[in-house]
């Protein structure tokens, strides 16, 4: 018979497929998105902050550039749908409270340096003795074991050592990091998928387990996409970075690599030859002095399979043509003509995108403490039965201490005062 965990302390306001489950989030900046995603899917996620606040609260940018622990936009982004308690797990009382919390938790996510929790006698061995069905995920730069297990990383170093950075950038400059926060995202979403795979097994068997996620591997496993790792494996060829002209052989058709980033009249467009139909493209260009391209017999219906000679004719013409057109017109025409292109969009473009508006992507979240509200990136997907939902804005420091310690764990006000005075909470 399947073992099904009971709902515990289910907050009736929470909705989503994971509403019956509780997550203890002890992660650093690199894995915060795990708890966020599980929380946005309805789980009761409690982030455990050291007294004084989580270090990620000091990470910029800040609301109206006020470098205040209550104003970190980094914190806001990665901690929606969580509750917060403060707890000093380096004190014996703090460790005792954490063990009590673990007894009622379904998941625990942490990203301390390798060996830190074992040193506090709070490693998986000790915690699973309290709660054998616990799923515990450790997210570290390189994994729990191996020659680099104790090395450090950063967003930049993570992208570099994971192999993605090597292929990003122009010929004239050093390889470039991807903008945004990639390694920080993987630390979260790869941990979340692992937790939920382990959860399926737990629901079958009642058994919890330990998950060891290494972020270098987490980035590098994506290097099969568009073939760099296989080119090395099969042909001992190293793909140079994307801005270096290079004939990559039969990949994306038979043509050499082309520039994706194309300047247009008022910005940049991403132009892909891959499965891009020739006829609607040259039809569009014809009235602007490119009638000869329309009249020409092309050897393929799609740009990626044109011959090198044909590409040497078509490519420069397309580039010239696009510099005369504004982004909106190129977007409209590529939609109409089914060209697989996309505008290089700024955050402002995203916030005013009619498609995202129609799908209700952005979610306006109130921040009463700041006396304002602003838009957050919303659901990655629409789920028909159990929608993804921002359950609440990111918590204030220890916002739910009373709720969790007194109402749910049954501590007295006096206990709480004693723990506060002792620097435990």
């Amino acid at each position: 018979m399947a073992y099904i965990l009971n709902a515990q302390n289910l907050d009736s306001n929470r909705t989503g497929p994971l509403a019956p489950y509780r997550v203890l989030d002890l992660s650093s900046a690199m894995a915060l998105y795990c708890g966020k995603l599980l929380g946005d899917l309805g789980a009761d996620v409690i982030i455990v902050e050291p007294p004084g606040g989580h270090p990620a609260r000091a990470l910029g940018p800040f609301y109206h550039d006020q470098p205040d622990l209550g104003c970190s936009l980094f914190w806001f982004t990665f901690n929606t749908s969580k509750r917060s308690i403060t707890l000093n797990i380096e004190t014996p009382d703090g460790q005792d409270l954490l063990r009590r919390l673990v007894a009622s938790a379904h998941f625990l996510v942490e990203s301390f340096p390798v060996g830190y929790l074992n040193g506090l006698r709070l490693g998986y061995g000790q915690l699973s003795a309290i709660n054998p069905s616990l799923i515990m995920a450790s997210v570290t730069p390189f994994g729990q074991t191996g020659p680099y297990a104790h090395w450090q990383t950063s967003e930049l170093v993570g992208q570099a050592m994971g192999g993605i950075q090597y292929i990003v950038g122009d010929a004239e400059r050093a390889p470039a990091q991807l903008g945004g926060l990639q390694v920080h995202l993987y630390g979260g979403i790869e941990a979340a998928e692992a937790c939920l795979i382990a959860h399926h097994y737990r629901q079958d068997t009642g058994e919890g387990q330990y998950i060891d996620l290494g972020l270098q591997h987490g980035v590098a496993a994506g290097m099969g996409i568009t073939g760099p790792h296989q080119s090395w494996d099969l042909n001992r060829v190293v793909f140079p970075r994307a801005g270096i002209p290079y004939d990559q052989g039969p990949i994306f058709g038979v043509a050499p690599r082309h520039k994706v980033v194309v300047p247009c009249k008022d910005g940049y467009f991403a132009m892909s030859h891959y499965r891009c139909p020739v006829a609607p493209l040259v039809d569009w260009m014809a009235p602007d002095g490119y009638q000869h391209l329309k009249e020409r017999q092309w050897s393929s219906d799609t740009v990626d399979y044109l011959t090198r000679e044909e590409r040497e004719v078509l490519d420069p013409a397309v580039l010239d043509f696009l510099t005369t057109k504004p982004k909106t017109e190129i977007y409209r025409e590529s939609l109409r003509r089914r060209l697989p292109w996309a505008p290089i969009q700024t955050p402002a473009d995203l916030l005013s995108h009619p498609h995202l508006a129609a799908r209700g992507f952005f979610v306006n979240v109130e921040h009463p403490e700041l006396d304002t509200s602003f838009a957050y990136a919303g659901a990655p997907a629409a789920l028909s039965e159990t929608p993804w939902r921002l359950q609440r804005r990111a918590p204030l420091i220890g916002e739910h201490n009373n709720e969790v310690y007194i109402k749910e764990m049954g501590l007295s006000l006096r206990d709480l005062a004693r723990f506060r005075a002792g620097g435990v909470i």
Binding site: V168, L196, I197, A381
Partner: protein, 403 residues
Amino acid sequence: MSRALENIRVLDWTWLGTGPLTSLCLAQHGAEVIHVESDTAHDQLRHIGPYRNNVVDINASGMFEDNHTDKYGITINMNTPEARALAYRLVSICDVLVENFTPRTMPKWEMDYTHVRRIRPDIIMLSAPIYGVTGPFAMQLGHGITTPALSGLHHLTGYPDRPPAEIGNAYTDWISPHFAVSLIMAALDYRRRTGKGQYIDLAQFQASAHSTGTAILEYSANGHEQTRIGNRHRYYAPQGVYRCRGDERWLAITVSTDAQWSALVRVMGSPEWAQEPRFATFRARRQHHDELDRHIEAWTCKYTVEQLMAALQTAGVPAGVVASVQDLHEDPQLQHRRLYWRLEHPVMGLVAHSSFPFIMSRTPRELVKPSPLLGQHNDLVYKDILGLSEADFVEHLLAHALD
């Protein structure tokens, strides 16, 4: 040892990146995944390569191989009248259906959720087109090469004085699958508790927008548009990528604490310039970042990147090689983690396959079978799993329903 998802069967009607990588994760964790294509319309990965010695062969594409290990491969020709009933029979025995076509393909075949739920009411169906299945741009074509642009990530990539940098990879195809797997697993749990299946309409556009970090809030809350910053950090200094000895050898360094700065200075041999007040604080270092970079690179270019990476990490400074794919294959840590699994493929021989990055203590991922040749498992899936009689199977063959 058993794997976590051995009681789950997945109909994998996917192609290219996001769809196949979603079902790949399920397959590496034990799900029985049936990849569907047609000899009249191959998974385009078969035509992309790379191929050994550049010899094109639809049964020997490196990318197809990496994205489809541990799956069964079948063919079905949806343009024949017999195929639909057969496809519905496949649906009836599956827990999950994954597809990532533009949203006119599945409705055209009457394989959209409205239809498949009639066959299997508790099925979990995930569609993952670029724009999702609804909305005014739903029919717009796209793929992983252009989705970084669409989602806001490409705008943030590169140097401030230059256009957005070339990315050279269908990069977002490595983002959406983790969301997709998480959502499928959450929906499976919901089904276990309630008996209800559901439809998941994932827009790669939306999932990928989560890779822009704080850029959306900084605009919506502050009205400030983030832009490209090269390899620098907005707050810390120094951070950069520095040339080392050899061709295209680069070292990435991040200094985010004063202790790391002191350690970096020490490893550099405490040069005189580093003692100057204009490099004493973060603010000062940020102000003089160009000059700082020149000093650091004058030092790094004398050494190999491996020497410096080890020396700096030992001293407590986050630093690492900008790894090429050769570096990844030879990296001792990734070898220890077993990123690549070597499996014998009937056409390609021994090839390396990427594994998912998390190691589970009770139910570790395992890569067992190389990717299927086109239609390799038609017999096994249609006859042994679905239960078609030999006569019935032959009839479908003759009707070209299995092309």
